[in-house]
């Protein structure tokens, strides 16, 4: 199957204002957040307790989905090596809008412990539109749940528009990504 068929090759367009049931849609979105099951860093170790008995994420309708096509949220769980950043961008762009990014750990904010490492990025929001940062190394499950509640509130208020920002300023993000990722052998728009 040719790339043309798999990936739509024109720049994504912002959907028009949803007149029909905008309120219902946003309440539903806030109450069923599906997280793509991709543990990008060491924060993934705290995502396991998050959906077991102690801190039950599913109470809030947060569930893990194994494929990005069905997910709404991607959790960047900690530092991002350059090799992983490439995969994360690909996964993020394969997710269907509206989509949100939750970044865990101080290493996504300013590099954290790895501020001088030659292989980990220092600021995630140069490459992906981050909706919620959860600080800490590593953040406790309670704080992750707190971050999710903040995300839900902003979704209900219609403020979690990181994905629209990503589409509008795609050139800015692309230039940042391209100067970090040496070989960009991915389709330009792969959603």
């Amino acid at each position: 199957m040719s790339e043309q068929k798999v990936y739509c090759n024109q720049s994504p367009s912002l959907p028009g204002r949803q007149r029909v049931g905008k309120i219902i849609a946003e309440i539903a979105r806030a109450n069923s957040l599906w997280v793509v099951a991709y543990g990008t860093g060491c924060g993934a170790i705290e995502l396991r307790p998050l959906h077991t008995a102690r801190f039950d994420m599913e109470r809030f309708g947060i569930a893990m989905r194994p494929t990005p096509r069905q997910a709404d949220v991607i959790i960047i769980s900690g530092y991002l090596a350059v090799k992983t950043l490439k995969r994360v961008i690909r996964v993020y762009e394969q997710m269907q809008a509206p989509k949100y990014v939750v970044a865990l750990g101080s290493c996504t904010i300013n590099g954290g412990m790895y501020f001088d490492s030659y292989n980990t990025i220092n600021q995630l929001d140069l490459y992906l539109p981050v909706d919620v940062y959860v600080a800490g190394c590593m953040p406790r499950p309670e704080s992750i749940i707190e971050g999710f509640t903040v995300l839900m509130k902003s979704i209900k208020a219609g403020e979690a528009t990181g994905w629209q920002h990503y589409i509008e300023n795609l050139d800015y993000y692309r230039s940042n990504q391209n100067e970090v990722i040496p070989r960009w052998d991915m389709p330009t728009y792969n959603w």
Binding site: A25, D56, D72
Partner: protein, 300 residues
């Protein structure tokens, strides 16, 4: 005529809602087994709405678009063909009160459409899952059709209404009591139909995440969720009619279908997943032998 259409429409909507609710209940029950609180029982409703309002920008060709339709059609077909409540106040959608073989055909129809669409999506996981699923389906459909044969021979009819009427005389008349082996075989075949462990080899998240719906995103997935819910309800009603004496009123219907629905949930809570060949071997041997025993009992 108008009344029939109205009743059919109401049946579809109510079936959808009931299916979503059952899904929520099963998630709740599973969470309690894990020791969790679990999602609210209305979780599947918000999932459905959320998925419906998501952006859809995936193009994989015609069959890819059609597959959720096939699934929905299969579910609705089964639901319409099966008499839901038989009694003083009865809900029978399609007036000729469909033939059991036609129902079985419709149950095939949904899965086959799903398989075609998944194959068109071009994802290797989807293709593997389709081959797995078809192999498994052929095995459990074999035993299920033998059970149908048992009922046909034993009750001298393939009309579901007559089958329900034949067991209207209290529990003693149920096919559960009359044909216990056939019922056991059918209940074993019911597990893979509901994609319950240990037979859930199609959507195997740790092996081929996650099978046919790998590429299916927002609206497709909401349609498939709706189709699966209706399909589930239809299957429940069918099995209730075939073995558990049908439903003479709404309370009867709800109780029986709920119990029927929880049975695969409890089974899948305590069993790992079979490998493909193990599942096929099991499904080829155990339910088939049970159905054969029943068939011999019935014929002699």
């Amino acid at each position: 005529m108008a009344v029939t259409i109205l009743v059919a429409f109401a049946t579809a909507v109510l079936g959808l809602c009931y299916g979503l609710l059952l899904g929520g209940i099963s998630r709740k029950v599973m969470a309690r087994i894990h020791g969790r609180i679990g999602p609210p029982v209305t979780q599947n409703f918000s999932d459905l709405v959320k998925l419906f309002f998501k952006r859809t920008a995936i193009e994989h060709g015609g069959m890819f678009w059609l597959a959720p339709m096939f699934r929905l059609t299969g579910g609705l077909g089964v639901l319409f063909l099966v008499p839901i409540v038989v009694g003083r106040f009865s809900v029978v959608n399609i007036s000729f009160a469909g033939d059991l073989l036609l129902v079985v055909y419709f149950m095939f129809f949904g899965c086959l459409g799903m398989a075609l669409g998944a194959g068109d999506s071009g994802h290797p996981h989807a293709v593997m899952a389709v081959s797995r699923g078809l192999a498994q389906m052929s095995t459990y459909e074999l035993s299920f059709s033998m059970v149908v044969l048992v009922l046909a021979v034993g009750l001298r009819t393939l009309n579901i209404g007559d089958i329900v009427a034949a067991q209207s005389g209290g529990i003693g008349q149920w096919n559960l009591v009359r044909y216990p082996f056939a019922t056991a075989a059918a209940m074993i075949a019911f597990l893979p139909m509901q994609m319950a462990y240990p037979f859930s080899i199609v959507l195997a998240p740790q092996e081929i995440p996650i099978g046919p719906p790998t590429e299916y995103g927002s609206r497709f997935l909401s349609l498939m969720l709706a189709g699966r819910s209706i399909f589930g309800v239809a299957k429940l009603v069918l099995f209730m009619n075939l073995f558990f004496g049908g439903a003479s009123n709404i309370a009867d219907l709800v109780m029986k279908t709920l119990l029927l629905y929880l049975y695969p949930v409890f089974v899948s809570a305590v069993f790992p997943r079979f490998r493909l060949e193990q599942s096929v071997r099991f499904l080829l041997v155990v339910p088939t032998v049970l159905a054969l025993v029943e068939l011999i009992r019935v014929i002699t």
